[in-house]
Structure formats: C-alpha cells, structure tokens
Symmetry: C2
Subunit: 327 residues, 2 copies
C-alpha cells in the first residue's frame, strides 16, 4: 500500500492520516499548527518538523501527497511540492476543485494529480475533532479532467476507499457546480436564517425549536473556514444563489398575491423525496475498465447518474449505481 | 386537576391527550379520523363518537377544551363549541395565533380562552407518531391579549406545564412575528434549498452530506400541513421572507462585487451564538403575581426577555429568566 504524506492536520487532514494509517498504510504529516503537531505526536503519529521535510520523505518513499490545508494556503504548499517532488503522486481534500486544478496545472505540470473532496465533516475543527471513522460510508469526489492520468485517479480513489468512503467520479467544474448547491448555498442560507431569526430577539430565540436549530447548525462552525469554503467557489455559488433568490422571490410573490405556497412546498417535498429515494434505492453493480480511451467519459457518466465506485481491481473500477439508473 | 377535552388526535393533539392523562388529568377526545380514533381507543384512551358528544361532556364536566385541528378546520370546531359550551375553558395548539384569536372573539365572546402553541414536533404525523414526552422541556407559547382573563391564561399555562413544557407568555401578534422567523421561514428556505439542490441532478444528490440533509429535513413532512402552517401566517411570513430576500440579495451582491461573504457569515455566526448563549445561560427565578393590573404587561415583558414560566402557585407564576436579562 502506498504511503501517504498529509500536509495539514485539521479536521479533514487529521482524519485522513488516522484513517489511512488505520487501514495499514505508512503515513506521516506536516502542519503549520504547533498545537495540532504536538497533539498528533502524543497519539503516536509521525509529524515531520516542516513541510519540506515531509515532502522530501514523500519523494524518497514515492508516497501520495495529500494537500489538506484551507484553500488560501494551497498555492504555497503546491510551490513547495514543485520544489521537492515535481512529479509527485498528488491529491487534495479541499472543498473546491477548479481553482486547485488550475494551480496544479500551472505549478506542477508533471505531477500525477487527481483532485479529491470527501463530503464529511462536523462543526468542530482541528486535529482533536478528527477521527479515523470520519469518512465511513461518505461520498468522496475524485475528479477527472481531460489531462488526468488514469493511474493518478486510481491512486486518489484508492485512498478514499481505504478511508472507508465511496468514490464519486466527476469533473472539477461539475463538482463545483454541485457542491455550490448542496454544501455552499446551505451555509449561506443558514447564515441568512440565523440572522433573520435573531432579529426576532430573545422571544424568538426562546421559541426556536428543532427546525431552526437544525437549519442553522452549520453556523456554529469557524467563520473563517466557512468563508474560505464559500468564497472559494464564487462563480458556481453565484449561480446557486441566483436560483435560490429566484425561487424565494417566487414564493414571496405567490404568498403575497394569492396566499398560496403550493408550488414552493410541493417542489421542496418532491426534491427531498428524490434525495431519500436515491439513498434508499437498490443498487446494481457495474464495472468500468480503467485503461480504455472511454474511461474518462464512462466514469463521469457514472457519477452523473448517482453512481459511486466501491472497489478497485487490478484493471477496473467496480461501482454501484441506483437500480433505476443502471444499464 | 381540570379534565381535558381534545378535539383532533393528530401528532400534537394525540401527544396532548397522552401527556395530560399521563399527568393524572381526566381526558377524552374526538377526531374526524376514524383511523386515529380506532388506534387511540386500542391504547385505552377515551374517544367520543363525535365532536358534539365530546363538547357536551366538556360542558358537563367543566373541562378545558383543546382545539388541536389544522388551522383550516378551526372555524368549524369553534362554531360547535359556541353551540355546546359557549363559556368553555378553551385553548388551542394551532401554530398561528392571531387568526385563531380573531375567530374566538367573533364566535365565542364568552369563552375563557388563551391561545397556545407548543414548539415541538417531528416530521411524521398522526396519532401513531404522538408521544406523552413530545413536549418535555419544550417551549409552549401561551398568549395574553388585552381581553384575556388571567384565569383563562392560567388554565392554558397549567396544561402546558402538566405536559412537561415551559410557558412563554407573549401576545398573538408577537408570537406570529417570532414564529414566522424561527419556524415558518425555515420551512420555506428548506423548500427552496431542496429544489435548488435537486436541480443539480443525481450527482448533487449523491454528494449531499449532513448539512444538506439537516437543512432540508422538514421537507419530509406532509406538504398539506406545511402549507396550512406557513400560509396561515401570511403577513408575518411576508415580513420574514422580505428580510431573508434582503440578506440573501446582499450576500449575492457582495460575493459578486468583492468576492467576500464576511458580513453574511459573521452575522450568521453571531446569531447562532446568541441562540446557544440563551440556551446555555444560567437562569434566575422571578415571580409574577397573576391578579394584579400589571400582570399582562409583566408577563409579556418576561417573554420578550426570553423568560419562561416553570411553575404556577396559588396566586402567581414562577419564571426563569436568562441571568444577564434578569432584574
């Protein structure tokens, strides 16, 4: 099993190091946080003294480098990778993919890179909140571009599987458009809702029950991390915000003019039903060869249909696809 | 302990009957649903054959009548109360208060009425989803208007306390404005978010993680009940929706022009902090006499400050107020 070199030991990076080593991989890390480094070493994990030291070790042991810093620190880490290991096996766990891809192309044209994004997390942050089980059963996007080498995609996907996740193959642009809708817009709406609720004063807060607490829970997260994530996906989030403004405006207009929220509520109920249906659907297995010239197209189509890779064999990816969508 | 006569045996009405009888009150019900009636009787609860029969028994046993139907059925129930028990002890558990108050004033000027709204629920509906513990620790608004008699308020508050809830004293208009922000707007935003997410197709649904599922959970509820609740609070919900449109539009504008969501995220984080602070605050006890000419004003002020009544003595209400707000 290929060793992992994790740069950044926050909630996600820490969980990757824990999960990958728990799965039997050799692994070490580097972090700018003395606190996280000390805590990780106290639990017996290998933390190098500097990012260059960790990367030199990655170069000599042919490890997979995992960039697990906030988006704002990615460029500097990639510069260091370019210096110490320009053809590295490389992936990342940053929540937006197009900007990372662009930086990798520019700074590391020789790297064997595929981008990654595990769809898991909790409101707390830092090493102390990380767990080896963080990704168990979760979706983990691994991106495929025209210039992605299939062996690089395979390495990133193998890490996700070793961490207990299922791999959603997609392009960086499609990933960013989808996560704007299901991850970044929810954070913006939660911020809006929390503020509108608090404007109701202590009376509103003392009446607030489960629906309000659930809907604003993500606002308990570190505001800097929420900003880095949402602002980093600006273009796609603008599209999603425009859709939300359109739908909310239509709801407001209908309520004002006719007193009805039928279209809004029915659409929301049907959409939630789609989510539950997809989760509950029986799944069929399908296999995609990893070295044909159709691999890119077939894997992306698989992701578009809600399919997830659950296993890698010597020459192919085994996926589960919702039964009604299989074939 | 005063007997209760519950009209409607859905999730909330059923839970009131269970909780009130578990607390030792005599209690019976009536419901238009044969299914709910049969299920309740099978568990040993008294269900009269008709609403008039239940109300005649309430009149003869001087019971507290609890209207627990959807808003759309309230008028017809009140007409029957007016016929069979025009001076009844009366409360309700409908999620909007001004429209119910207006109907009671019009149809039942002699009734000893105070409106109620327990802030609890689950996505399921009907008797089978009801429990005796539904209101344990929850807030339960009990309304006070200029024409509310203090003995009527006391009866409605006593029922809430017997059901394990804490009583938030407020006016119907303030209740409706607050719940538009913390209950009805969350449903509308959940509907909008679910639809925008589903527009991302199966890829977006398969990437959706906890934040999306939490934020759209309430859209699993019966659409008719969601509509009855949100549409029934039209004016206040329009105000809340306008605030949300304003804040979302400002976020969109800031992201487009400067790339920053700082104001939005900071405001949301601070608002969420207020919710958690209020919940975690140490609380001081204070006592409000129930028969002074200042009772109405003092109880409403208590509710405005986030205070909740936890006990009734012979002549007063004992309340807990967040410590920083006490005095």
């Amino acid at each position: 099993m290929r060793a992992v070199c994790v740069i950044g030991l926050g909630l996600i990076g820490g969980s990757v190091l824990r999960a990958a080593t728990a799965a039997g991989r050799p692994g070490w890390a580097a972090t700018a946080s003395e606190q996280d480094a000390t805590a990780a070493r106290a639990e017996g994990h290998a933390v190098e003294d500097s990012v260059p030291a960790a990367l030199r070790r990655a170069e000599s042991e042919d490890a997979l480098v995992v960039v697990a810093t906030p988006l704002t620190a990615v460029r500097e880490v990639l510069r260091q990778v370019a210096w110490h290991s320009p053809a590295a096996w490389l992936t990342d766990v940053v929540s937006v993919k197009d900007p990372v891809h662009d930086e990798v192309r520019r700074l590391l044209p020789e790297a064997r890179y595929a981008g990654g994004h595990p769809m898991a997390g909790v409101a707390s942050s830092g090493w102390t909140a990380s767990t080896a089980e963080m990704f168990s059963g979760a979706s983990w996007a691994v991106t495929l571009e025209e210039d992605t080498r299939s062996e690089a995609w395979r390495e990133a996907a193998a890490l996700a599987l070793d961490c207990g996740a299922r791999v959603v193959p997609t392009s960086a642009a499609e990933h960013d458009a989808a996560t704007a809708r299901i991850s970044h817009l929810p954070h913006v709406l939660a911020a809006v809702l929390a503020a509108v609720g608090a404007d109701g004063g202590p009376l509103a807060m003392s009446l607030a029950a489960g629906s309000f607490r659930d809907a604003t829970r993500v606002m308990g997260s570190d505001p800097e991390l929420v900003r880095a994530m949402t602002e980093g996906n600006r273009e796609a989030l603008l599209d999603a915000a425009d859709d939300a403004l359109g739908r909310l405006g239509a709801a407001r207009g209908s309520l004002a003019s006719t007193g009805s929220l039928k279209s809004t509520v029915d659409a929301g109920h049907a959409a939630r039903g789609m989510l539950e249906e997809l989760r509950g659907a029986s799944r069929e297995r399908t296999t995609v060869p990893l070295d044909s010239r159709h691999t890119l197209r077939r894997l992306r189509e698989l992701g578009d249909r809600g399919g997830r890779v659950v296993e890698l064999t010597a020459d192919s990816a085994v996926a589960e696809v919702p039964a009604s969508e299989a074939g």
